[in-house]
Symmetry: C2
């Protein structure tokens, strides 16, 4: 794990690491903010943030100002990449498939399976690396994300409740089996057998197994993708059916951009901090 | 003045405007954040932020999160561009001269003079436009900036004390007549007569005329440009000689990036808000 960038920020340190990943078979980069307490060696709660289509670790790191809130709450903030990358890695001309569009699952189909193993990377390899190298409290890890990353946060938390102790999302794709982005990606990565798809659909997962805690979602009402791709009401209905306490905040006038995320990121940090104490 | 972008952010609105400038003879863009009070029609104090070399209005608008602090203090935040732009506008191969490197003065030399009239633009044309179109309190306008924009903030405030009622800066070029960036730009824009240069040098200006108020500057000690280009101690000495109350905060470990600016932007907003009441 090589530190390729570091600078002081809000009294802590913003770093970027690069490492060879066994799960993806590629070099992977991720950003991590360490609050002062972590720099002083104290074990801290952490929040993992999964980004949306077309993004890298850089978007939230430079446009969301997570450092301010992480510093305030004494939390470590981790922003992984959105997929494996490189010339040897399969890709697609569309922005919504291939590199920067992994959907955070382990692909079973060619040409994706050799490198697109993001679920294994994020739930097995990366936590081990982080816990080994940094003062990450393994019993206090939350996860959040935006759009495709909101889908990732919800599904990875539901599939790995021993790893993730709190979950929230910004404008998540809640029901990928029933939207164009999800259908295209699941068909490519998982193949045409739709019974496999449900294992990576937040609505299906929560109805099947529930969630031992509450969930916070912010959704902008001026978000152009809300009706066609994100479908917050599908997840609201699924949570009601599953008896899971969902706080769905529909934010009038807000769009799908980082102006929306930045506006409510403080609330998500406070929410996770409360639950990771 | 045409609104080319608008989105909700921190309960207010982030907008971008485009307009034909008489001063520069080009189309100009600027970003403005309006807090909720301004949207409701209440006249508000404003903070103008001038960016550094290579930037546009976009850098601070997306990376500094000024909206959070502007919303808190009920202030309007205005981010102009760093120069005139376009194919018909003179330019230079260097990043430190020409487009995105105006140094915020009125050029007197060819080929720059026809369009590089940024002091007139920022102190005459733009304030009139803003006061006419938006609820900007003309008696409560502060100015700040970063690097070249810190030079712009200091020199424009000192040259136009009736317009700007408070001034601060992040890592400003304080003594451009005595650093490579400033010498290259002043020679090009103002010609070889160095007596003209002093009229745009913050150190010379403050010694000549003082400033009826105090000044706040943050400077990162891990900033690679500090010793060669920024020279905060030159301005500290000039303020001492002029009897001006300067708070120069040397921030250990911080560099020249937006990670530094974002870390201290809240303090600058609070400082200007106090002085613009």
């Amino acid at each position: 794990m090589e530190q390729v960038f570091s600078t002081k920020c809000f009294g802590g340190e913003q770093r970027v690491y690069k490492h060879k990943s066994k799960a993806t078979g590629t070099d992977m980069e991720f950003a991590v903010f360490l609050p002062r307490a972590a720099l002083d060696g104290f074990v801290c709660p952490s929040l993992v943030y999964l980004s949306g289509l077309t993004c890298t670790w850089e978007n939230v790191t430079t446009k969301g100002l997570p450092q301010m809130h992480a510093a305030k709450h004494g939390m470590i903030f981790i922003a992984p990449d959105t997929s494996p990358r490189g010339e040897a890695v399969a890709n697609d001309d569309g922005y919504d498939l291939g590199q920067a569009a992994s959907f955070y699952l382990d692909a079973t189909q060619e040409p994706w399976a050799p490198h697109f193993q993001m679920e294994s990377y994020l739930t097995d390899e990366l936590p081990d690396l982080l816990i080994d190298a940094l003062p990450v409290d393994e019993d206090a890890i939350g996860i959040t994300g935006h759009s495709m990353g909101g889908h990732g946060a919800l599904t990875l938390a539901l599939r790995h409740p021993d790893l993730f102790h709190s979950v929230s999302a910004f404008a998540p794709i809640t029901n990928p089996v029933d939207c164009p982005w999800g259908q295209k990606a699941f068909n490519a990565y998982l193949g045409p057998d739709e019974s496999q798809w449900a294992q990576h659909d937040a609505c299906a997962l929560i109805k099947e197994q529930g969630w031992d805690g509450d969930i916070l979602i912010d959704q902008g009402l001026a978000d152009d993708f809300m009706s066609s791709q994100l479908k917050p009401w599908a997840f609201e209905a699924a949570c009601r059916e599953a008896g899971v306490d969902l706080t769905l905040r529909l934010q009038g006038g807000y769009d799908h951009s980082y102006y929306f995320i930045a506006s409510f990121l403080a609330d998500h940090f406070a929410w996770h901090a409360d639950r990771l104490e």
